[in-house]
């Protein structure tokens, strides 16, 4: 089949010459004619198929040079032009070429030359067009980097050409780029992407042989020789540059590295592995780079399976409630339980929440799961009440998603009404990390839950970043702390100190503490000693099916841990609330005075007045009175002091004793101390003490 004939436009004012040309060219081409430049533009506008222009340079009206100039600025600028010049007219030839003519022929026409040059020039122009199109097909117009298709092809070539080099594929993107783009607007967003492209280019330039591209949006990819140290350096450099780029925003990259072990693997698959690795970095504090592990693919595949099955699982009630009892540490008997989810999977067996809850949290399905668990728990409580048991409260988890659900209160109230149970029986465990998003809303929600009669527990206290503020602003009833948060390389003493302090603080706030993850007898003993009220953990009981739980508590009277507080509110008011009158009194007493806490056979000053500091020296308010700064309590007096405290505590009354302080030079002073029992909180007995220095050997010297 003949290919279509191309069209040539002849621009020549002489009819005779036009006719000659028409005839010369007519064998091979379709011929359009114009007798001057203006006409030529008309023809070009009409006929879109013109492949080349044969232009007489010397013409009236619009001469050839003018036409060439105008052509350059027209939409037809890419059309090839052959200038027809007078014989031996080098000047014209030069001028024509300078103005953009692709070639020239002279008169008289040399037909074969003319035809050849025309053909050449048309082929060249088509090639040029093709290159332009290809450019558009291969390159990303915003950044000038390769686009996805070109990149994959080039990478394929790269790997084949360098079989001796071990390469890796690196996926790069920016966390939450869509948000940044929204804040910045399109122009600024594009500027940023070009900046990123430069960073990528810089890495590429330093890592030959390599290929790199912009895949889409904020996703870039580089294939470069694998060098762990070099990659780490590149990542650090980019992170540093991003930090400097715009200090008003947190710009965090994710680098996913996939080491190419089989160059014959599909390039797209390599890129997918790198992408999966990059996903792992997200949401991890200060983690910007991650290497691909085959488990990630496994994980992804499993995730997909779970997502496909979850709705049906819910509808078919494959999720079941397991109960982990909480123990009253003082009576060592159970008191309530936490409801924990398990998935009784038809083929995979019993699945623990770790295998599916994170997925549900990511895709929001957790909201429905929560409600399902709440309802199941209400049904249990109702059944137990109907059976004549007097159930202790069961706590259920409220996910972050539901904590910000405006229907939360109505859902919960609806449930307890439906099953006609006291809201205080359905305790709610909220996780601390959820508070961080919007403490104000949280505060309101918790208050509303209180008003509806629910007891609110803060789960995983201490695992988040804002524990102190949270306690301050949000009126929770119970703290749950996980022993594991204190696990790791921290030394034991430090851990114990922190835990004791937290339990103390809770004590002053009159908030019971449940310690989770308790596994050994040693831990139990320690917790008891610091005044912790409740424990939940494998040491006492694992999460168990409802039947087992019912058997466990059958016939038992489940009692909460008794509060050991005595005069607690008054104490708190006096010691901590800074009542001005009390302050005044405390500070104007002419004698050194202190408020001392006694527990577990040791004492600590809680507060002291100015005279105390003058007598014993300045130090931290809460310091162990066994070391009154530069002087030590004489060893032989220590026991006596403790006995005084103990007796006073037992009698809820007064105590009196004298003891010696010894300084580093061995000189004694004698101190007279009068004690008065004041009250107690969960952990500590509180005393008011007055001091007087009777004898001071130092002065004698």
């Amino acid at each position: 089949m003949e290919s279509e004939r191309q069209t040539v436009l002849i621009v020549e004012d002489q009819p005779f010459n036009r006719a000659i040309l028409r005839n010369i060219l007519g064998g091979e081409y379709e011929v359009d004619e114009a007798s001057n430049g203006v006409e030529a533009f008309d023809v070009l506008a009409r006929d879109g198929k013109v492949a080349a222009i044969l232009l007489d340079i010397v013409m009236p009206i619009m001469d050839g040079y003018t036409f060439l100039q105008k052509l350059k600025d027209s939409p037809y600028a890419s059309l090839p032009v052959i200038a027809v010049t007078g014989e031996k007219d080098e000047e014209s030839e030069q001028k024509a070429l300078n103005l953009g003519a692709w070639d020239f022929v002279s008169k008289p026409y040399q037909t074969n030359v003319l035809l050849l040059r025309l053909k050449n020039v048309i082929i060249r122009s088509q090639f040029y067009l093709l290159t332009e199109m290809q450019r558009a097909y291969e390159f990303d117009s915003l950044t000038g980097l390769y686009n996805r298709t070109k990149f994959f092809a080039e990478t394929q070539r790269l790997l084949r050409a360098h079989t001796e080099v071990r390469f890796c594929m690196v996926h790069f993107d920016i966390d939450h780029f869509h948000l940044l783009n929204t804040f910045w607007g399109e122009e600024e967003g594009n500027r940023f992407l070009r900046f990123i492209a430069d960073e990528i280019r810089a890495i590429g330039d330093a890592s030959e042989p390599c290929s790199y591209a912009r895949i889409n949006a904020d996703t870039f990819c580089i294939c470069l020789p694998y060098d762990a140290a070099a990659i780490k350096k590149h990542v650090e450099t980019v992170v540093a540059h991003l930090t400097d780029y715009n200090r008003n925003y947190l710009i965090e990259p994710s680098f996913g590295v996939y080491i190419i072990t089989d160059p014959a693997e599909r390039i797209e698959a390599m890129f997918e592995h790198a992408t999966l690795a990059a996903k792992e970095c997200k949401g991890k504090y200060m983690t910007f780079m991650c290497y691909y592990k085959p488990e990630m693919d496994e994980k992804l595949a499993q995730e997909q399976v779970i997502i496909n099955q979850m709705q049906q699982a819910l509808d078919q009630e494959q999720f079941v409630v397991y109960l982990q009892p909480k123990f009253n540490l003082r009576t060592e008997k159970p008191y309530g339980a936490e409801a924990l989810i398990r998935w009784q999977h038809p083929t995979k067996g019993l699945l623990s929440p770790g295998m599916f809850i994170p997925i549900f949290e990511r895709n929001g399905f957790i909201g429905q799961i929560d409600y399902y668990m709440w309802e199941k728990t209400c049904q249990l409580l109702r059944r137990w009440i109907d059976q004549g048991r007097q159930p202790a409260p069961i706590s259920v988890n409220v996910s972050r998603v539901n904590m910000y659900n405006p229907n939360l209160i109505s859902m919960l109230v609806g449930l307890v009404k439906k099953y006609d149970i006291d809201p205080a029986l359905l305790n709610l465990e909220l996780t601390e990390s959820a508070y961080m998003d919007n403490p104000e809303i949280m505060g309101k929600t918790v208050t509303a839950l209180h008003e509806a009669g629910f007891i609110v527990m803060m789960d995983d206290f201490g695992s988040g970043y804002s524990s102190l503020n949270t306690l301050k602003d949000i009126p929770i009833n119970v703290l749950k702390i996980d022993m594991k948060f204190l696990s790791g390389q921290t030394d034991e003493a430090r851990k114990e100190c922190i835990m004791a302090a937290v339990v103390h603080m809770a004590g002053w706030l009159d908030i019971p503490v449940i310690m989770e993850g308790v596994e050994t007898a040693q831990q139990v003993a320690f917790l008891r000693s610091i005044g912790c009220g409740y424990v939940q953990g494998y040491y006492y009981a694992r999460p168990m099916p409802v039947d087992d739980y019912e058997r466990l508590v059958d016939g038992l009277r489940q009692l909460p841990a008794e509060s050991r507080s005595d005069n607690h509110q008054a104490l708190v008011q006096t010691i901590w609330a800074g009542d001005p009158q009390v302050e005044l009194l405390f500070n104007s007493i002419l004698q050194p005075a202190a408020i001392i806490g006694f527990e577990n056979d040791s004492y600590q000053t809680i507060r002291v007045n100015a005279r105390y500091n003058e007598l014993f020296g300045y130090g931290e308010v809460v310091s162990d009175v066994t070391a009154q700064l530069d002087r030590h309590i004489a060893a032989e007096d220590v026991q006596q002091l403790k006995t005084t405290f103990r007796d006073a505590a037992a009698r809820h009354g007064m105590g009196h004793c004298q003891y010696h302080l010894v300084d580093e030079d061995g000189r004694h002073s004698t101190i007279d101390m009068r004690l008065r029992y004041w009250g107690a909180n969960e952990t500590t007995k509180v005393f008011f003490a007055l001091f007087e220095q009777i004898k001071d050997e130092r002065q004698a010297a």
């Binding site: 005779f16 010369i24 007078g86 008169k107 008289p108 040399q110 037909t111």
Partner: protein, 117 residues
């Protein structure tokens, strides 16, 4: 008629046919057309009027046509004439160079009329 004979008439027939993509028919058709071409008349009038510009334009055009038709004797004469008329032009010199042009034009057109059917 062979090429040599055409050449004596001032026409390079072979070159002309070559130019006209090997078609004698096409070439000779154009030769015949030339007889009706008005350009020579324009040149004549301009020379008579002493109009350098007009003479130049016509001469130049005629030169082109002659060249394209391989009327090489006429062409060569016109080259010289056109040169003299370029720019400011030297009408005196041109007048000197013109009669041979006239003669050749008469001659070659008669030759064409006789030779081409």
């Amino acid at each position: 008629m062979d090429d040599g004979q055409w050449l004596t008439g001032g026409i390079d027939h072979r070159q002309g046919v070559e130019r006209f993509v090997g078609s004698t028919q096409l070439y000779e058709k154009f030769l015949k057309e030339f007889l009706n071409d008005p350009t020579y008349g324009q040149l004549d009038a301009a020379m008579a009027a002493g109009d350098v510009q007009a003479a130049f334009m016509a001469g130049h055009t005629l030169k082109g046509v002659a060249g394209n038709l391989s009327l090489n004797r006429l062409y060569d004469l016109l080259v010289v004439l056109v040169d003299a008329l370029r720019g400011q032009g030297d009408m005196a010199k041109a007048r000197e160079l013109y009669p041979p042009v006239q003669a050749e034009y008469e001659s070659v057109t008669r030759f064409i009329a006789d030779s081409v059917r």
